[in-house]
Amino acid sequence: MNSAIKIKSEHKGALLIVLLLASFFSSMAFADNWSLKDVAGVKYKLADEKGKWVLVNFWAPWCPTCIAELPDLNAINLQRKDLQVIGVAVLYKSKKEVMDVAQAKSVSYPIVMGDEDIASDFGGMQGMPTSFLYSPTGKLIGHHDGPLTQTEIESALEQKPESAGLFTN
């Protein structure tokens, strides 16, 4: 009787594992299927941005090169109606720390309070800042490690970004 109880319990445990994994694998997110909520509570999905280039920029408020590129990203976001910049802050101490930097640099594009899980969904990254560019059809063009300037982005968009070499897979 004791053995029967053990076997039954172990099967129940195994079943639970399978159900858990099946359930949560089904909710997996990937770099081209993200949904980001900004500090104002507005959700941004890649599918909703079709028809626009989308630049997702990961940055940290302690990183000087990240902060240095914010004005350029803000300028191109304001000037080009066919491009949406989304800033994802990571590795911050507090929301205030992030917003103080964003306000000091007059950032007007959406800022998302990100975390390691969100960064992992984009495939991970080797340093800060890192930016991901999506085409107007929602295709991931590639990522860029390091700061970007407005000129570099404009130049890449005027060419075929895939072949411009600024964003790589």
Partner: protein
């Protein structure tokens, strides 16, 4: 470790020269992670020293994150106590026979599966966690009658129990707003007597008589939990140290088997993990040290030779584990706790390993 990227003259070079700026941020991040981990460090006080959860499971599953908000966790812990030890060594068959001869109960097995659902909220300087355990426990004992032939599982007075139900709910908070880098904090909480503590043996010679207090799904006591933690990084690794004490606020509780009060439980967990930023796989290793005081009350039996309570002990586990990010804020994790030192009060059953798996979801 995540580096700052510097781009000059079209060349991208990875630099770590801003470590002084990076490190505090990572410390901050990990400290919150540890704070949450603290919420999941169980120290259920049961009669047997090796019962209950002794792991900081969430530390690995959370990863480096400073995001505030809600999260949920579902974990399964499997403990099969089927190894007899007396003090710190395996008793000989002759010694076990002498215990029978002196009317000491000899238990044969206790298997516990605990499914714990937790809902957590984390702010920037603290958080709170509600933990709901559901237990399934089977137990077998020969009582004080030796099996024949000696060493076989079932003696003439073999009895067993099987019970499932809600265990003791915990509500635990943490605060880490003492310093700007948030690398240390305190833990405070309460364990409530929500689990059944009046179950009977379900089969065998002792059927329908009260089950031992230490084998019930709940302890019957209201306990406070206090602790502290600190954390840091070196190279691409994060580390933490966390200590908690659990103490019964209630005196002796009248249970069906007699009066009972669980002994205090002291837990010291430390660990390291690979802290590569946003990495999908995070291997980790923990050391879990447990000290449980003797239980007290008339429901607690005493050793036939030393007359000390058959409860309490000192345990050390080495616990390798792995957490995997599945995407969308979902992580799964698994640990195996391997005993490296066990010294218990009198004759007790201990497991050869403890398995723990779980899934964590940030909302």
């Amino acid at each position: 470790m995540l580096n700052q990227i510097d781009e000059k003259h079209g060349e991208v070079s990875m630099k770590n020269t801003h470590a002084n700026r990076f490190q505090p941020s990572l410390h901050t991040a990990i400290s919150l992670t540890i704070a949450v981990a603290a919420l999941f460090s169980g120290s259920n006080a049961f009669a047997c020293a090796s019962c209950g959860c002794t792991l900081s499971t969430d530390w690995g599953s959370q990863g480096v994150s400073t995001k505030s908000g809600w999260s949920g966790d579902l974990s399964e812990t499997y403990i099969n106590q089927n190894q007899m030890i007396y003090g710190n060594s395996k008793p000989s068959a002759a010694f076990v026979q002498s215990l029978y001869a002196n009317n000491q109960e000899v238990e044969t097995s206790t298997m516990t599966q605990t499914t714990t659902a937790s809902i957590n909220y984390n702010g920037e300087t603290g958080g709170v966690s509600l933990q709901l355990p559901y237990l399934h426990r089977t137990h077998g004992t020969n009582g004080t009658t030796a099996s024949n032939p000696p060493g076989t599982d079932y003696g003439a007075n073999y009895s067993e129990s099987s019970a499932s139900g809600l265990g003791d709910i915990r509500l635990i908070g943490h605060y880490n707003g003492f310093s700007d880098d948030k690398t240390a904090g305190i833990i405070f909480g309460v364990k409530l007597p929500t689990g059944d503590y009046n179950a009977n043996f379900t089969a065998g010679a002792a059927a329908n008589t009260p089950l031992d207090a230490g084998l019930q799904l709940g302890s019957g006591s209201t306990d406070y939990i206090l602790g502290a933690y600190t954390s840091g990084t070196f190279s691409t690794y994060g580390w933490f140290v966390q200590g908690t004490v659990q103490h019964s606020l209630t005196g002796l509780v009248n249970e069906a088997s007699g009066s009972y009060r669980p002994g205090d439980a002291y837990l010291l967990n430390s660990g390291i993990r690979y802290a590569g930023f946003a990495s999908m796989f995070s291997p980790m290793l923990q050391l879990n040290l447990v000290h449980r005081e003797y239980d007290s009350g008339t429901a607690v039996n005493n050793d036939a030779f030393t007359n000390s309570p058959i409860s309490g002990g000192n345990l050390a586990y080495l616990s390798p584990g792995l957490s995997v990010r599945l995407g969308g804020g979902t992580s799964v994790y698994g640990f195996v706790q391997v005993p490296i030192y066990q010294n218990v009060g009198s004759l007790q059953l201990v497991p050869s390993y403890i398995a723990n798996i779980g899934v964590h979801q940030n909302f």
